[in-house]
């Protein structure tokens, strides 16, 4: 993976020194909060409901064992011994003290980690397929390009004050695991003949007006990527609205002007940006690519794996849900679930982080990934090592066999932490997970994506959940709206609202009615909830959610 060079290190040390003096001046009273707020946000420091929160960037979701260990150490030394992994492939610390933040940032800086541009109207962390470089279905590892984008966008002078925040996602696989259509720019690697390039999507986003990105280029040669991104972002910088925060995202710019007008403006600007890029970016990309060479995969027998599958049902259940196909023979991609039933989705304790770092070092070619689904990935594991890994994970409560099932829920922090929240989301996720385990339906229900947000901002991706849950405040009481039929993959779709919302304690029973209706009406156990929903349409599911109305109408 990418190692910082001297320039990166010097830049980061300087930024951290600047922020340290800004914090000192805030504490001694020479800066007001109005002056300090934008400065702290530029460095990822928020003030939430109960405490400050530090949002730390994990570029394209990739980290090494040393960095994971450092998170563990920082969380223990300056926080409460755990971290929260988010859909944006970041990690958040929920309890830092203001005076400690400069020390935290210095400590992270030592391992090449920072919190820059994790907030503000800038280009945020570029998120990537968490199986990048390992997936069997991949054209090319997208991370060298993601790193190139990181270097281009970090501290990009023209793009520090965009109309609004800007998020780019990238995938190298036709199976979209990076939710590219829900990002300001989505990049999907495609082939044209022998040449590799990108399908470029623009204007996707969730929040209060969810929209799926539209294709602005169906094939962009790889070498044109940065000038083309520069053209899109600078066009948006000029055309994007600054009069209304809710209409400032690029999705609104594209929607209001139409994709054709927007595209014409981008293409015109591209003529200029392309001439300005001298090709240095391609030299840099070549250097970056050299740092992403695949590990030396070994050729070894997999009998130990086959034997464990045959003899150990617990291991087998875990292998069934938590492994994905690797491109190298004898290897697997391991998804470590951070969704143990009843725990907080995405949280990992320092002890768990250390174990994950150890396992990556011992068995996983020194690589770890954070998925937007708030799980941790060991991307390169030889199958013969899986029984040992599974046993070690079980010792730290990390062997939950539920990836892709009902309890593998995305949930934003909601009103347990977030100052913008209108309702809680974490306890809803916890109760759904334990309830369906306790009534024994989790395996039976099979593949299902539930995604929960604690307000209209949609940080929990509820719009693209097969079942989306949105927590609202209705006259001073928590109330939850359910959306159905969302899809976060290459067949992306925004879910539609099922009807009136449910009180906090009615959410789990409502979801149970909905899923019992699915079980009763599916074609076969192989027909997933989303497939059944597409075949049957919303009517039978709405009837299950609202039995009263169904009766009244009859």
């Amino acid at each position: 993976m990418y190692d910082y060079n001297a320039f990166d290190r010097a830049f980061l040390a300087e930024r951290n020194a600047q922020f340290r003096s800004q914090v000192e001046r805030r504490i001694d009273g020479s800066l007001t909060e109005e002056e300090f707020r934008p400065l702290r946000l530029m460095n990822g420091l928020y003030l939430q409901l109960h405490a400050y929160m530090l949002r730390i960037c994990i570029p394209y979701g990739t980290l090494n064992p040393g960095q994971m260990r450092r998170f563990a150490e920082v969380a223990e030394r300056w926080d409460k011994g755990y971290g929260h992994f988010t859909t944006r492939q970041n990690i958040q610390l929920n309890w830092p003290k203001l005076k400690d933040v400069p020390d935290i940032l210095d400590s992270l800086g030592e391992v090449g980690i920072h919190a820059i541009q994790t907030s503000g109207n800038t280009i945020r962390n570029t998120t990537a397929d968490h199986f990048a470089g390992a997936a069997a279905d991949e054209i090319e590892d997208p991370r060298p390009v993601a790193e190139l984008i990181r270097q281009w966008s970090t501290d990009h002078a023209e793009f520090q004050f965009l109309p609004r925040k800007f998020k780019i996602a990238i995938t190298g696989s036709p199976n979209d695991r990076a939710v590219t259509r829900a990002h300001d720019i989505g990049l999907r690697m495609v082939r044209r003949g022998a040449e590799v390039g990108f399908e470029v999507l623009v204007g996707g986003g969730l929040g209060r007006t969810p929209m799926l990105g539209a294709v602005i280029r169906d094939f962009l040669p790889k070498a044109d990527l940065l000038p083309y991104l520069e053209a899109i972002v600078s066009t948006y910088n000029v055309m994007g609205r600054r009069d209304n925060k809710y209409k400032a995202r690029i999705k609104i710019t594209v929607f209001e002007n139409g994709i054709d007008v927007f595209k014409a403006a981008v293409e015109e600007r591209f003529v200029e940006t392309r001439a300005q890029f001298s090709g240095v970016d391609q030299q840099i990309l070549t250097e970056i690519e050299a740092q992403f060479t695949p590990p030396a995969f070994r050729n070894a027998p997999t009998e130990a794996f086959d034997a464990a599958l045959a003899s150990d049902p617990v291991f087998r259940a875990w292998a069934d849900t938590n492994l994905a196909e690797h491109r190298a023979p004898g290897y697997a991609i391991v998804t470590v679930s951070l969704k143990a039933h009843g725990e907080t989705p995405g949280d990992a304790s320092s002890a768990q982080m250390r174990l994950l770092a150890d396992l990556a070092e011992r068995y996983g070619h020194d690589e770890l990934r954070i998925s937007h689904e708030q799980n941790v990935i060991l991307p390169h594991v030889h199958k013969s090592d899986l029984p040992a890994i599974h046993a070690a994970l079980a010792g730290e409560g990390l062997a939950t066999a539920n990836v892709g099932l009902i309890s593998d829920i995305i949930a934003c922090p909601g009103m347990d932490y977030c100052a913008l929240a209108t309702a809680r989301s974490i306890p809803v996720a916890q109760e759904l997970a334990t309830h369906f385990r306790d009534i024994g339906l989790e395996q039976e229900i099979g593949a299902l994506k539930i995604k929960i947000s604690g307000c209209i901002n949609a940080c929990g991706h509820h719009h693209v959940g097969h079942i989306g849950i949105l927590g609202l405040d209705r006259a001073g009481v928590e109330n939850y709206q359910i959306t159905l039929g969302g899809d976060h993959t290459e067949t992306a779709a925004i879910g539609e609202r099922a009807g009136p919302g449910f009180a906090y304690d009615q959410v789990v029973p409502a979801i149970e009615r909905l899923l019992r209706a699915y079980l009763a009406q599916r074609d076969a156990p192989t027909e997933s909830f989303i497939d059944a929903f597409r075949r049957l349409g919303p009517a039978p599911f709405k009837a299950a959610l609202y039995p009263e109305e169904a009766r009244d109408a009859a």
Binding site: E33, L47, H50, A51, K97, L98, D416, I426
Partner: protein
């Protein structure tokens, strides 16, 4: 006709710790909601908010939150403010933790 004024407390986050604090009648900042000054008059509420906002080296984001009188002092009326008096529901962290020890 203007809406009738409903009782409020002045609340904010502590600059250094980041945690929730309340303005008391004797001009202190307390970490306990029930020690807050329950303000029943609109003009007085504005004065108290100004007083709070004038302490940038101590507090961040002061605002008026709805409250009502209770047996031990003011109580929150909205669930958001109730959460702020306790902490998150997924761990015993925040104020509820301090109350435990």
């Amino acid at each position: 006709m203007s809406r009738r004024f409903t009782p409020k407390v002045v609340t904010a986050n502590d600059l250094l710790e980041g945690d929730v604090i309340y303005l008391t009648a004797d001009d202190r900042w307390s970490r306990a909601h029930h020690e807050a000054e329950l303000i029943e008059d609109e003009a007085h509420a504005q004065l108290r908010l100004l007083f709070a906002s004038g302490q940038p080296a101590r507090v961040v984001g002061a605002y008026l939150a709805e409250a009502k009188a209770g047996p031990d002092g003011p109580e929150p009326t909205h669930f958001r403010e109730a959460f702020r008096t306790r902490g998150p529901s997924n761990y015993p962290h925040g104020k509820q933790e301090a109350a435990n020890v």
